[in-house]
Symmetry: C2
Subunit: 218 residues, 2 copies
DNA sequence: CGGCGGCTTTTGTGATCACATGAAGGGATG
DNA sequence: CATCCCTTCATGTGATCACAAAAGCCGCCG
């Protein structure tokens, strides 16, 4: 059997449009692209060494997920979110992630909690280094690790879609955030997991998810 | 000004890939395609009189929304949902739509309630005629009309994505459903709206959304 | 000095083609 | 009669091209 005969999940053997899609998706979700930035199909194709065709498919896919905005003439930019939309997406995060955490709770064993604590220390490190992209990445990793235990793939996919839509804006948001405190709400989440305290967990997740979005009210 | 200079929302002047997308989307959401049905890019292109390119874009977009399933080799079919996934999607409907209804409640005036009652009589008619597609269509129209008042476009879009994923399965589901009763839960929703009873509304929406999915447990 | 009109360039759209891959069908063999 | 293999066909992928429309730019005119 050839080594390229794998079920196709590797970054190398995957179709071109999929590689482009995945790379752009991660960039957007981690806030590596500023809101309103313009992308061009030929530019994307050039960067990845492919033609316009796979670039177009990747862009369409991302636009369908709300990660990119397509103007009426087809021009593609990262979305610039209004305050109303940000609040709505925060509400969606609260709805979905509270449910996911709640479903993960009965399955959360010690190994998971250990992993969460390790990730959380990475989060704290990123905060202290003021590394915005690193913070977003590790923070999402923290949440995803917990929610994977919920055994609810459709719900998790939806939560990730919301993260994706918030990606470019989050970067700008946490740029204003001048705190260097380690994430307090993450500790509350871990504590609630240890104690098997479901109401506490729901509250902690809700607080963690909505806290970062409060500052834009002013 | 030319008549084709409109902001591009018309079915005619819109780009080809968008026409294809919208047509397929409606078909899938209304359950006009059975689960597991295979589609081909050349077939779609032939039906709409376009080449493979717009067909591919429409299919990618729909696949990104979960409306279509792409096998590892790229073959495209409507999804065949497992029971676990259906239950999960039902839970998502409950989460999202209860919230949407709750947000619509304070803005629900008499004109809206009248419209809902009109739509509801159409739903009852479809039920009595055993028109599955018509039932799904009018039922979704009932829900969408209510949720539009919530002024929460992102949340509504997410609910529609769930409807889309359930589309092909719903048809098969309501095929087994041998009732000819008019929708009781819709009446409860309307009554709660009239009374301004938020807890009652939440319960009625939750019941309406999850009732149709109970029968697959057996 | 500012607004406006026309030109040029950039960009997305859609069609067509060559290619590789996976599925289906048929025939030979045990 | 079933099974395996090979041929053939259908299908998705990606590149390239022609076209139209939008955006940007520059100079002209008020």
């Amino acid at each position: 059997m050839n080594s390229a005969t794998r079920p196709t999940q590797d970054t190398a053997s995957a179709p071109a449009h999929d590689r482009v899609y995945r790379t752009l998706r991660t960039r957007i979700m981690h806030g590596e692209i500023t809101p309103g930035a313009a992308l061009t199909l030929r530019g994307i194709g050039g960067e990845f060494g492919v033609s316009m065709t796979p670039a177009r498919e990747a862009v369409r896919r991302l636009a369908a997920e709300g990660a990119l905005f397509l103007s009426s003439s087809g021009r593609v930019t990262t979305p610039e979110l209004t305050n109303e939309r940000i609040e709505e997406l925060a509400a969606l995060r609260a709805l979905l992630e509270v449910e996911l955490a709640s479903r993960a709770l009965p399955r959360a064993h010690m190994a998971l909690i250990d992993r969460l604590q390790t990730i959380n220390s990475n989060v704290a490190e990123m905060v202290s280094k003021r590394d915005a992209v690193g913070y977003i990445r590790t923070n999402l990793e923290f949440h995803r690790t917990l929610y994977l235990r919920a055994q609810a793939p459709a719900m998790l996919a939806m939560a990730e879609t919301v993260w994706l839509q918030l990606g470019p804006t989050m970067r700008a948001l946490y740029g204003r955030l001048r705190r260097t405190d380690p994430p307090q709400n993450h500790r509350l989440i871990i504590a609630a997991l240890k104690a098997g305290d479901e109401p506490g967990l729901r509250l902690a997740v809700r607080s963690d998810v909505t806290q970062g979005l409060r500052l834009l009210a002013g």
